[in-house]
Symmetry: D2
Subunit: 224 residues, 4 copies
C-alpha cells in the first residue's frame, strides 16, 4: 500500500510487484538536453533534468521489488511515414524544418544516459502523446498481467497526462508520482497534478517519490 | 477560416462544412442539474449551465452551414456490465452507492432539454472519459469523412480534454472553443484551456464562440 | 477442462466459470428468418436455424455453471451515421436499397425468439464483422475479468471468425464450438472450422457441444 | 479500375495511385525458408516461395505508378515482453522452445532477399496476425491519406485474412490478389480466397496479378 490522495494506492490495499509497472515517460535527449526539440520550442529543460534523481531512486526500488520498468520514447518513424502535412507545417512554423527533432533516427530520440536503463526494461516507441495509441504498450501490459501503473516522466501536462487518461479509461489502476514528473511550464505541471484528483480521483491517486519508496520497501525484495 | 491561437483554424485555411463536426461533450442532467452526479460530488453545476446559450448558438450556426452535430453522453451500461469493482468502490466512497448517477438507464443520463438536439444529430454513448475509447465515435467520423472537430461541452479538464487528446493523436484537426466549454473547477478549466496551446499548439488551436460564428458565416449556408 | 483439438481447453487445465464467457454471435432475425438480410442475399437460413437447439443447451449449461452469456447483434445505427457511400452502393447492388436489412431500428435486428436470452445476459451491438471493433466488447470482458471465450453463432466464416481472430490477437483463450456455429455456405463453414486448427491451433482449439457440456458439468453448479 | 469479382475495384472506378497501397504480408525467412518457423511446423514453404515473382512484378508496377509499398513482418519483440505463458506453452508443444523462430532479434525475421524491398517502402512490425492490432499500421495509412489496399503475401488464411478483415471493418477499400497470396495449406488458401466473395463481396473484391498490372498501367507513371 502506498500513501496517496485522495485515497491510498491501490484502493483495495493489494499491492503486488508482479502486477505493477513503473512507467517512465519520454526522458529523452530531445526533451532534456539544452539543444533538443523542447529547448528549441523555447522551454527550459532544467525542471525535466531535476527529476532524474527521483526517477532513478524509483527505478532502483522497483528493480529490488520486482516491479517491471517500462520506458517510452516519443518520435516520428525514421521513414517519416507517420508525419502528416499538418505536422510538417507545425515543424516549419516552430523553426524545426530540416532538423532531426523528434525523429527516431536521431540522437535526440535516445533516453538520457543519466537514467538507469537496463536490458530487462521494456521500451515502447510512440508517435502519439498517448503511449496506448498505435503501439504495443497495452499488448505488453496485458501479456505480462500488469494491472497497476506508477507514472513518472515528462511532460506532466502532455504525454504523462494523455497516457494516464488512456490508462484510466482502460481500467488500469493508476498512481501519479508528483515529484517524478515534470514540465517546462510550471503552471501546466501543477494544474495537471491537480486534475488527477478532481471528482474524488477521476484519474486515480497522487503521491510523491518518498511514499512510493516507503510502500515498495514494505513489499520486500523480489523472489524472482 | 476561424481566428484562433496559436494559429488560425484550420492551419491551411480550408474550412469545409462537410468535413467538420461540432462535438458537444456530455451536456447531460447528471452534470448540469442540481441533483445529478456532478452536484453530488460537491461541484456547482452553474458554470456548466452558463455555457448552454453559447453552445446553442454554435449548434444553430453549424446547422445553417451544414456542419454535423455530434453529442456524447457519459454513463455506465444499464446492465452495469462495464463497471469494475474499483468503480463500485469509488461510487460507494462518494456516497453514490444505490443511486442512479451515471447510469444509462436513468433520467440523469439524458441531455438537458435546454440544448437544441435534433434527430439528424449523432449521439455517441460512452463509459470512458474519452469518446474514442470502446465506442463507434471514430467509425462514424471516418464513415462521414469528417476530419475537423470543434470542441464544446463539459467538463473542460476531464471529458473534453481526454477526447481532444485522443482526437489529436488520431490526426484530426482540433479547435477548442473556450467559452463553450466549462468545468465545476475554475482553476482546472482555465489550465485545461491553457494546455491546448503549449508547445505552439500541441492540442490544436483555441478560440471563442464569436470567432467560430464569424468563421462559419463566411462559409455561407449549406447547399444540402 | 474441455476435450478439444489440437489440444484440450484451456491449455493449462484451469477452466474457471467466472473467467469464461459464451459468445453467441448474431443469431438475429436478419440472418435466421426466411425474409431477412441473409435470405435476400440468396442464402438458405436453414443451417443457421439448425444450431439453435445446441446453442440453447450451451446457454443452459453456462447459466448453471455461472459462465457469462454475451450475445452480439450486427446492424447499422438507426441514424445510418456509420454507413459509408460504399456500403450504400453494395446495398443497392444486392437489391437491399430501401429495405431495413441490417438496420438497428428494424425488427430484423432482434435476436430470434427461440434463443434463450435473459436480462442478466450482456448484449453488444456492432456494425463491423468483428465484435471488438468500435464497440465496448473488450471493455466489458476486461471489466468482468473474462479471459476465456467459447464461440458460437453465425456465420462461422464471417462474423464468428473475424471476432475469433480479434480475440486471439488480444490474447483471450478461445474455443470454437463446431456444431454451435453455422453458415449459409457449407464449404466456407467447414473451411473456417479447419482454419482454427492450422499451425497447431493458430486460433485456439476446436470442439463440439457435447464436449463443452461434459466439461461444464465437471465444474459443478455456480456458487453465485 | 481493376477487373475483379464480384465487382471491379474500386467500386466507384476512381483508382488513385496516391490513395492506394500494396500490402505485402510477412514474406520473411521464417515463413519461406526451409529451416524457419513455418517449415518446423511441418508445412512446405514451396507454395510461399512460388508467389515471389508475382509479388515482385506487382511491386515494380506499383513503384512505377506511385503506389506506396508496405511490408509487414511477424515476430515477437526481442525482449519477449509480448509473449504470454500460453504462447510459450504452444512453442514448447511445437518443438520451438529454445529456438529463435518468430523472434524479431533473429535472422528468420528478415524479409527474404529475393523480394524487392527499398528504403522508400514502409515496414510495419507486428506480433499479432492482424497488422492493425497494437501497431502503427493504421496511423501510417491515415497519415498518408491511403484508403485503398491491395493484398498480397502469406499466409492467405491466417495473417492476410486477419489483416484484410480488420481493414474492411475500418472501411478501407480492399482487393485481394489471389496468385500473390499463398499458404502452406492449399485447402485453407483456396477457401480463404472464396470467403472474400461471400455475401456479394463481404471482404471486398478478388482478382489476380495480371488484372492489377493491367489496371495500374492505365494509371500511367507517377508524376512524383
Amino acid at each position: 500500500m502506498i500513501a496517496a490522495k485522495p485515497f491510498d494506492f491501490p484502493y483495495d490495499g493489494n499491492l503486488e510487484a508482479q502486477k505493477t509497472a513503473l512507467i517512465v515517460i519520454d526522458l529523452q535527449e530531445d526533451f532534456l538536453s539544452t539543444t533538443g526539440y523542447f529547448a528549441r520550442q523555447g522551454y527550459d529543460p532544467a525542471p525535466l533534468r531535476a527529476i532524474l534523481p527521483a526517477v532513478n531512486r524509483l527505478i532502483a526500488a522497483c528493480r529490488e521489488a520486482g516491479v517491471q520498468i517500462i520506458h517510452t520514447r516519443q518520435g516520428y518513424r525514421g521513414d517519416l511515414a507517420d508525419m502528416t502535412p499538418y505536422e510538417k507545417w507545425r515543424r516549419k512554423r516552430s523553426g524545426l524544418e530540416g532538423t532531426t527533432a523528434l525523429l527516431r533516427s536521431s540522437p535526440g530520440f535516445q533516453i538520457v544516459p543519466e537514467l538507469d536503463v537496463r536490458p530487462e526494461d521494456v521500451i515502447v516507441d510512440k508517435t502519439c502523446n498517448g503511449a496506448f495509441t498505435y503501439t504495443d504498450f497495452e499488448h505488453v501490459l496485458r501479456a505480462q498481467g500488469i494491472t497497476h501503473l506508477l507514472f513518472s516522466g515528462c511532460t506532466t501536462d502532455v504525454c504523462v497526462h494523455t497516457t494516464l487518461r488512456e490508462a484510466c479509461d482502460r481500467n488500469f489502476q493508476c498512481l501519479t508520482i508528483s515529484d517524478a514528473c515534470a514540465s517546462g511550464d510550471q503552471y501546466a505541471h501543477e494544474a495537471a497534478l491537480h486534475m488527477v484528483t478532481v471528482e474524488n480521483g477521476i484519474f486515480g491517486a497522487l503521491t510523491d517519490t518518498a511514499a512510493v519508496l516507503e510502500g515498495l520497501k514494505k513489499l520486500g525484495p523480489s523472489a524472482k
